[in-house]
């Protein structure tokens, strides 16, 4: 496997009216745990069910109801921790975060403030070949999601849907290691990719299954380095938290807007007020939701309904033993084993299904060629039709068959593309389809020689030009292939043309 080394990217610098400013960003990602049942009740987690149909007595906080931890959700959190190279805490505990809201039936959210299940880890966020930010993870904790308040169904009444109430979330908290809007989006994308590889979160941002709270502050160049040396936050600016974003594009826009807002305040001699803000994508601006003074006092305390969560190292080891290959490792392996480029390796490993498809095509074949076909032909065609790699019209085995026909010289690249098109629309076994359609390139040198001789004889001027400039031999190759109806093997034609022209 390749050992890829990376250089850290430069932080984003925004030129203010008076000075340059740098950004410092930390993120809290709320990732819905992939699980059929909720964190503390047996209720289903199916998305899009009829309102209030996936609600148990526990979820709607009926009197005397008690939470019981869902072991599978714990395993998912451990798996995620292992995937982020994080410390797994064998003893963790649940706390109550108290506040009143109609979509929070208990009047508190069960979360893990004091003793999270996962401790420090890291995520490598690649920004360009050879350039990557190592973002430190502070912690991951398990917590309950809230329900949904609906205010637009009736002019006088509000409604609540408790289907999502109690669904397990992982809150993945980063250190303030992200230094620009693009890095922030890349961080979310990388985390999402890892979670999807792990099968611990489906990463569906549209459904709100992956949401981000972004903490943004600005500082003068040099200050961040002082923070790094001392871990003393006083070297950094006052931060604002932009809540609940579920689009990569909005995350970038919001950070950019927020940084410029803070810079304007500071350059005017003002002070940034620590507060929670919301991003309005229509207006392209953030606005204050509540200040630090108005912030809730959540009155966290250990949930007395739940004993500390104790897990065994042996159980963690079992989960570790069942870990899938993760994106970084897969990418390095693809580069080493199949000789694909850094860029192509990123494209091929972006989604697990795509990587598996590529690997099935590439195994035992020319890796680079396989990569080209998968990325250019397959992905291109899928995108064009709005299809996904989950159910491609041409299966990996079929594409592999096409590549085998090219490799054996039976069909040309041009023919292969036609064959691919036929397989896409009509299906079938590549070799059989090629045979049935008479797709067979001529490798009989006798036939090719005759064709070459004819074209040389008919084009004496071109012959002179080609002899002076051998690069023009390609014209003869093209003519020969055209004359043979595209069936002549280009490699054979090349060789014979060169020989006949005496190149």
């Amino acid at each position: 496997m390749l050992d890829l080394t990376y250089e850290a990217p430069k932080p984003k610098v925004i030129a203010g009216a008076k000075h340059d400013w740098e950004l410092v960003i930390g993120m809290e990602i709320h990732a819905q745990v992939s699980s059929n049942a909720k964190l503390f009740s047996g209720a289903s987690t199916t998305f899009g069910a009829e309102p209030n149909s996936n609600v148990s007595f526990v979820d709607c906080a009926m009197p005397g109801m008690l939470p019981v931890i869902n072991e599978f959700c714990v395993a998912q959190a451990v798996r995620t921790g292992l995937g982020l190279k994080a410390q797994i805490n064998l003893v963790s505990a649940f706390d109550r975060k108290n506040y009143f809201y109609p979509d929070l039936p208990q009047g508190y959210q069960i979360s893990q403030l004091y003793h999270p299940i996962v401790g420090e880890g890291e995520v490598l966020v690649e920004l360009a070949p050879g350039i990557a930010r190592l973002v430190r993870i502070e912690r991951i904790h398990l917590e309950q999601d809230a329900g949904k308040s609906i205010h637009d169904m009736d002019p006088n009444l509000s409604f609540v849907d408790f289907n999502r109430t109690g669904v397990a979330l992982m809150e993945i908290v980063s250190r303030p290691d992200i230094r620009g809007p693009e890095e922030a989006a890349a961080y979310v994308a990388k985390l999402r990719q890892i979670l999807r590889y792990l099968g611990t979160c489906d990463g569906n941002m549209q459904n709100g299954n992956l949401r981000a709270d972004v903490n943004v502050s600005v500082c003068r160049p040099g200050q961040y380095e002082k923070y790094q040396e001392t871990q003393d936050f006083s070297h950094l600016g006052t931060r604002c938290e932009i809540k609940n974003m579920n689009s990569m594009r909005f995350i970038q826009q919001a950070i950019d807007y927020e940084a410029r807002r803070q810079i304007a305040i500071l350059e005017d001699g003002g002070k940034v007020v620590q507060e929670t803000r919301l991003y309005d994508p229509d207006k392209g601006e953030t606005r204050s939701m509540r200040s630090k003074e108005e912030a809730h006092d959540y009155r966290y305390f250990p949930d007395p309904d739940l004993l500390p969560l104790e897990i065994e190292q042996g159980w963690v080891d079992e989960i570790a033993a069942s870990m899938p290959e993760l994106p970084d490792a897969k990418k390095a392996r693809f580069m080493a084993d199949y000789g694909v480029t850094d860029y192509d390796a990123n494209v091929l490993t972006a989604e697990l299904d795509a990587a598996a498809y590529f690997e099935e095509v590439a195994r035992g074949r020319d890796g680079k060629q396989a990569a080209n076909w998968v990325i250019n032909e397959l992905f291109g065609r899928l995108n064009k039709q709005g299809l996904t790699i989950a159910d491609p019209p041409v299966k990996a085995g079929q594409l592999g068959g096409v590549l085998d026909l090219i490799a054996s010289g039976e069909i040309s690249g041009k023919m292969a593309k036609d064959l691919f098109e036929i397989l896409w629309t009509e299906g079938g076994d590549p070799a059989e389809v090629a045979a049935a359609r008479g797709m067979k390139q001529v490798t009989d040198t006798g036939a090719i020689e005759t064709a070459v001789d004819e074209i040389i004889a008919a084009n004496p001027a071109q012959v002179e030009k080609a002899k002076a400039n051998p690069k023009l031999a390609g014209w003869f190759v093209g003519q020969v292939i055209k004359a043979t109806g595209g069936k002549a093997n280009p490699a054979a034609v090349n060789q014979i043309v060169a020989q006949k022209l005496g190149l």
Partner: protein, 491 residues
């Protein structure tokens, strides 16, 4: 003798011998409940359910019937009972009928028990006199002259009903003494099991780390029988212990020779009435006469127990009671034009919760708030750990059980404390809260009458999970005390 005056053990034997039917027994109780209306012990009666269950019990009679087959019980209003009003004596749950059955009542019904109805209590189990109930005061069947007395609290209705023979036994819950104090005030037996012995699922929560349900009965034997049916691991309660339930009744051997009984010097409170002191001394003698060894012990952090309790219990309560917000069930205030969600919360909770509940919610909210958390809640948790350690050390030194008074006085008059500092009421729990903080089993046994003719009880505290041993000690104390007095029937 009327059938409702029987103990569980007596009724069980009479039923087994065919001398009595469960229907007759149930009818006797329902009649007594009707006559007992002035006690305000039962707040919802369920005669149809009771008679159905009794008929089913009669049909089942014989081998294979459960330990409580045909035994009529009263159920504290804190227990959720399917289809039957369960409102924790609070207006905020007025009319609430759960669609589920608490684990404890489910187990009782599986054992063949008959439910007569729901019993009065302090609102959300917060109180020591049953005066905070939305149903009005429960009244102690014991009387001095014409003064109406408290049956204690919070399980005041349970205590009054058992003492007045309205039922054979009742369920109670105990967060800081709510089984043991009313048992002592009414001359009956009440045991709070080890925390985790009995499932809390389906019991309206007051303070989750302290709440524990237990039996309130006419005898120690009955407590053993009823606890056996209530106890056991419940996967629906994460704090319920997966520990086998022994045969508690079989443990009542009456033999405590060589057992070590600890007498904690810190329980000798300043200004403790001489009568209580004398009762305690008699208890020591009774156990010594039965062959136990009496040793002085020290539980040095006892004096911090009450303040720690009145931080921890309200803290948990403030959070546990947040769910009563008027959104999904129970009371919702009528809103005015322009009222928003915060108005709805404030009005609903102001109307729905009584004064004492509001006081504790506010105390709890305060002690958990940022800036005060360490000074109050965290410090109280540390004190709690020290109190537990005191007991651990005593038991490690070979003590089998600890004997203390159950209450600092006999029952007081209803309304007597109305103008008193709330702390004066909290002092009722001074001997009992330590046991909840340490998660230990504790039992109150009636031992005698005071000069006014009111019952007094002693408390025995046991090792964790040793309810069997504890009940046996209590059985010996009960036998030696020979307490047979009953309240004179005035209702």
């Amino acid at each position: 003798m009327n059938a409702n005056e029987l103990t569980i053990a007596e009724a069980r034997d009479a039923l087994a011998r065919g001398e009595l039917s469960a229907v007759d027994l149930t009818m006797a109780c329902l009649t007594a409940i009707d006559a007992g209306t002035p006690l305000n012990a039962f707040v919802h009666t369920t005669p149809e359910i009771a008679l159905d269950q009794a008929r089913a019990a009669d049909a089942r009679r014989g081998a294979g019937a459960g330990a409580l087959n045909g035994i009529p019980l009263g159920i504290k209003d804190l227990f959720c009972t399917r289809g039957v009003a369960s409102q924790a004596a609070s207006n905020i749950l007025r009319g609430f009928k759960p669609e589920y059955e608490s684990t404890v009542t489910s187990k009782l019904f599986e054992a063949g028990a008959v439910m007569l109805g729901k019993l009065n209590m302090d609102e959300f189990a917060m109180g020591s006199s049953n005066e905070t109930s939305c149903y009005g005061d429960a009244v102690n069947p014991w009387k001095v002259d014409d003064r109406r007395l408290t049956p204690g609290g919070s399980s005041g209705g349970s205590a009054a009903a058992v003492a007045a023979d309205l039922c054979l036994a009742a369920t109670g819950t105990d967060t800081g003494g709510s089984i043991r104090q009313p048992a002592a005030f009414t001359g009956i037996v009440g045991i709070k099991p080890t925390y985790g012995r009995v499932s809390r699922w389906g019991i309206v929560a007051f303070a989750s780390s302290l709440d524990q349900a237990g039996p309130m009965t006419k005898s120690v034997r009955d407590a053993a029988i009823l606890l056996g049916a209530m106890a056991g691991h419940d996967p629906k309660d994460s704090t319920s212990a997966d520990i086998p339930v022994p045969d508690f009744e079989a443990a009542l051997t009456g033999d405590i020779r060589g057992r070590k009984i600890g007498i904690p010097r810190e329980y000798r409170m300043e200004g403790m009435p001489a009568e209580i002191e004398a009762l305690w001394a008699r208890g020591r003698e009774m156990l010594a006469d039965a062959g136990a060894e009496i040793v002085d012990i020290s539980l040095p952090h006892t004096k911090y127990a009450l303040p720690a309790y009145y931080v921890i219990a309200p803290a948990e309560a403030s959070s546990n009671l947040a769910r009563y917000d008027g959104v999904r069930y129970g009371h919702r205030a009528r809103l005015g034009q322009g009222d928003g969600i915060v108005d709805m919360y404030e009005k609903t909770r102001a109307e729905g919760f009584g004064k004492e509940v509001q006081r504790r919610v506010m105390i709890g909210t305060y002690v958990l708030s940022a800036g005060f958390y360490d000074a109050y809640y965290n410090r109280a948790r540390k004190v709690r750990a020290l109190i537990k350690r005191d007991f651990d050390e005593a038991f490690a030194a070979g003590v089998d059980a600890i004997l203390t008074p159950a209450t600092p006085s006999s029952a007081f008059g209803l309304g007597e404390m109305a103008d008193a500092d709330p702390v004066a009421m909290y002092l009722n729990d001074v001997f009992t809260v330590t046991v909840n903080l340490a998660g230990l089993p504790g039992i109150s046994v009636p031992v005698g009458l005071d000069a006014k003719g009111l019952p007094l009880g002693l408390q025995l505290i046991g090792r964790p999970w040793d309810e069997a041993g504890l009940l046996n000690h209590a059985h010996v104390l009960e036998r030696a005390a020979g307490f047979v007095e009953k309240p004179r029937k005035w209702w």
